[in-house]
C-alpha cells in the first residue's frame, strides 16, 4: 500500500511511473524507488525461497545488510531489492535458493 498522504510528509503528487515485470506480470513503480518499495506497494511480500527447506523470505532490515530481500533482477540472482532502484522494463523474479548464474548446469 502506498502512503499517498501523510500528516508530516505531505501528499505525493505528480509521480512519474515506470513499469517493471514482477514474476512475469507488469507492475507500476515510482521512478527511482527501490524495487522492494514497488513490491510492497502492491502487497507482494515474498522475495525468495531458501535452498534447503524452501521457506519464504521477505524484508528484514530494509537497508542492505541482511540479504532476506534478494531476488533475481534482469536475470541476475542475489540482488538486494531494498537498495536497488527500479528501471523501466526491469524484470524481477522470486529467487529459488541461491539462484542460477550464467553457466550453471
Amino acid at each position: 500500500m502506498r502512503i499517498m498522504n501523510h500528516p508530516i510528509l505531505g501528499e505525493q503528487k505528480d509521480i512519474e511511473w515506470v513499469t517493471i515485470i514482477v514474476n512475469g506480470k507488469p507492475l507500476k513503480a515510482k521512478k527511482g524507488e527501490m524495487i522492494l518499495a514497488a513490491l510492497h506497494a502492491e502487497g507482494i511480500i515474498v522475495n525468495r525461497y531458501t535452498t534447503k527447506r524452501h521457506e519464504p523470505r521477505g524484508i528484514y532490515c530494509a537497508i542492505g545488510q541482511c540479504t532476506d530481500c534478494m531476488m533475481v533482477v534482469n536475470g541476475i540472482p542475489n540482488v538486494r531489492t531494498c537498495i536497488t532502484p527500479v528501471e523501466d522494463g526491469m524484470t524481477v523474479d522470486v529467487q529459488e535458493g541461491l539462484g542460477k548464474w550464467r553457466g550453471d548446469k
Binding site: H40, P56, R57, Y60, C61
Partner: protein, 373 residues
C-alpha cells in the same frame, strides 16, 4: 591515487557533522556513503527532536538531515554516494566499492591523512518460532519502508520492544494509517520515554508489559502472532498465551555498533551492554587507539542522533586541529562547547547510564595508550 585530508566513513549525522566542522576550518574532506542519499537514520525520523535549542530541539530529524547535507555543500565537502568502504589498509589507504549500476562497480582507492569512522549501528534480532516469515522485520526496517519509501507491507503492526525506537515507530506507523495491534515488552514496565508511550496509550494502543512473543504464524507471510507472559528467566507462563491478528511483526530489541572498520584497523574495543555491545574506545578528541583514526556517533555506542551530531562535530574539530587548521586555544574552546552539549544530553533517565559507559571508554583509551591491556 587520490588524496584527501579527511575521509569520513558513513554519511549519517555523525559523519556529516565531522565533515562539516573539518571542512569549515579549511580541510579537504570526502564523505563516503553506501546509500543513494546521505543522512543516515535521520532520513526516516519524522518526529521532533528533544534536547535544547543548541541541539536543534523541536526540529524534525528529516529537516536536520537536509540542514547537514546543505552545510556539506556550503563547505565544499565531497560526498560520494552509492559508495561502500571495503576496508582501511596500510598508510590510511581506503578501498571503496563504487556502484555505477546494477552490474557495474568500480574499485577506488583514496589515501587520507585522517579518517573518521562513523558507521552507526545495526538492529538486533530475536529468534522465536516463525521469526523468518515475511512480515517479521526490524523496527528500523518498517520505519524505513513507511517514512522513507512511503509504502506499507501490511496494515496491522505488532511491535516487540517498548524502547524509544519501538514506541516512536508505532506512532509513526499510526501517522501513516496503520493500526497498532499492540506493543510487547518483556520488562514489567515500558522501556522508552513515558511521553512516547502516552501518545500511544491515548490512541488506545495496548501495551503488554511482562510479555514476550513466542510465535509468528502464517504460511507465506505473518497472519498471527502468539504472545505469552514471560518469567525473568525467559521461560513463559503456560496458559497465558494471547493470539493476535497481525500482518507485520516489528522487532525493536536494541541495536549494536557496526565495528567492522574499527576492528579491521586494530582499534581497541570495549564491551558494554549499556552501549549495545562492542565499541571502539576513544579519547576526549574522539580519536581511537590508532593514531589518526577517529570514531564518532553510534559506532562508538548506541545513543541518539543528537549525541552523534555532537561526537561527529567533536571529531571534525579535533581532526582540523591536528591538521593545523584550528589553533589550539580556539580548538579547546570549540571542543569544550561540544562536550558541554554532550553532557547535557547524557543526563536524566537513561542519559546517566550512557554517561557512565562513555567514561569507561575514555578510561579504557587512557589505559591502552599508557601500555596497559
Amino acid at each position: 591515487m587520490r588524496q584527501c585530508e579527511l575521509l569520513v566513513i558513513g554519511g549519517g549525522p555523525a559523519g556529516l557533522s565531522a565533515a562539516i566542522q573539518a571542512a569549515k576550518a579549511g580541510a579537504k574532506v570526502i564523505v563516503v556513503e553506501a546509500n543513494a542519499e546521505a543522512g543516515g537514520q535521520l532520513v526516516k525520523q519524522t518526529h521532533k527532536f528533544f534536547g535544547s535549542k543548541e541541539h536543534r530541539a523541536g526540529t524534525r530529524g528529516i529537516v536536520i538531515a537536509q540542514i547537514l547535507r546543505d552545510q556539506c555543500k556550503e563547505y565544499n565537502v565531497e560526498v560520494m554516494l552509492n559508495s561502500l568502504v571495503m576496508g582501511i589498509y596500510a598508510d590510511h589507504v581506503v578501498a571503496i566499492d563504487v556502484k555505477k549500476s546494477l552490474t557495474e562497480h568500480n574499485i577506488e582507492r583514496i589515501q587520507a591523512k585522517k579518517i573518521v569512522i562513523s558507521t552507526g549501528t545495526s538492529e538486533n534480532s530475536i529468534r522465536f518460532k516463525g521469526w523468518t516469515l515475511p512480515g517479521v522485520m526490524g523496527a528500523g526496517a518498517i520505519q524505513t519502508m513507511c517514512n522513507y519509501h512511503r509504502v506499507l507491507p501490511g496494515k496491522r503492526l505488532l511491535m516487540i520492544g517498548s524502547g524509544s525506537v519501538g514506541l516512536i515507530v508505532c506512532y509513526q506507523l499510526m501517522q501513516a494509517g496503520a493500526e497498532i495491534v499492540g506493543i510487547v515488552e518483556a520488562l514489567p514496565h515500558i522501556n522508552g520515554y513515558a511521553v512516547h508511550a502516552s501518545k500511544l496509550t491515548r490512541e488506545g494502543v495496548p501495551i503488554y508489559t511482562g510479555y514476550t512473543i513466542t510465535e509468528a504464524r502464517g504460511t507465506d507471510h505473518v497472519k498471527q502472532a502468539v504472545i505469552a507472559k514471560v518469567n525473568p528467566d525467559w521461560t513463559t507462563v503456560p496458559g497465558s498465551e494471547i493470539v493476535l491478528d497481525t500482518d507485520i511483526v516489528a522487532v525493536g530489541a536494541g541495536m549494536k555498533p557496526l565495528i567492522g572498520m574499527a576492528y579491521m584497523s586494530n582499534c581497541d574495543l570495549l564491551y558494554d551492554k549499556a552501549l549495545g555491545g562492542w565499541a571502539p574506545c576513544h579519547s576526549k578528541n574522539m580519536e581511537s587507539t590508532q593514531s589518526g583514526i577517529y570514531v564518532a556517533g553510534d559506532t562508538t555506542g548506541l545513543e541518539e542522533a543528537s549525541t552523534a551530531i555532537e561526537e561527529g562535530s567533536l571529531s571534525g574539530i579535533a581532526v582540523a586541529e591536528s591538521l593545523g587548521y584550528i589553533p589550539t586555544a580556539k580548538a579547546a574552546e570549540l571542543k569544550d562547547a561540544a562536550w558541554h552539549r554532550l553532557n547535557v544530553l547524557r543526563s536524566g533517565f537513561k542519559g546517566e547510564e550512557r554517561a557512565i559507559a562513555k567514561q569507561k571508554q575514555l578510561a579504557r583509551y587512557a589505559e591502552v595508550m599508557k601500555g596497559g591491556k
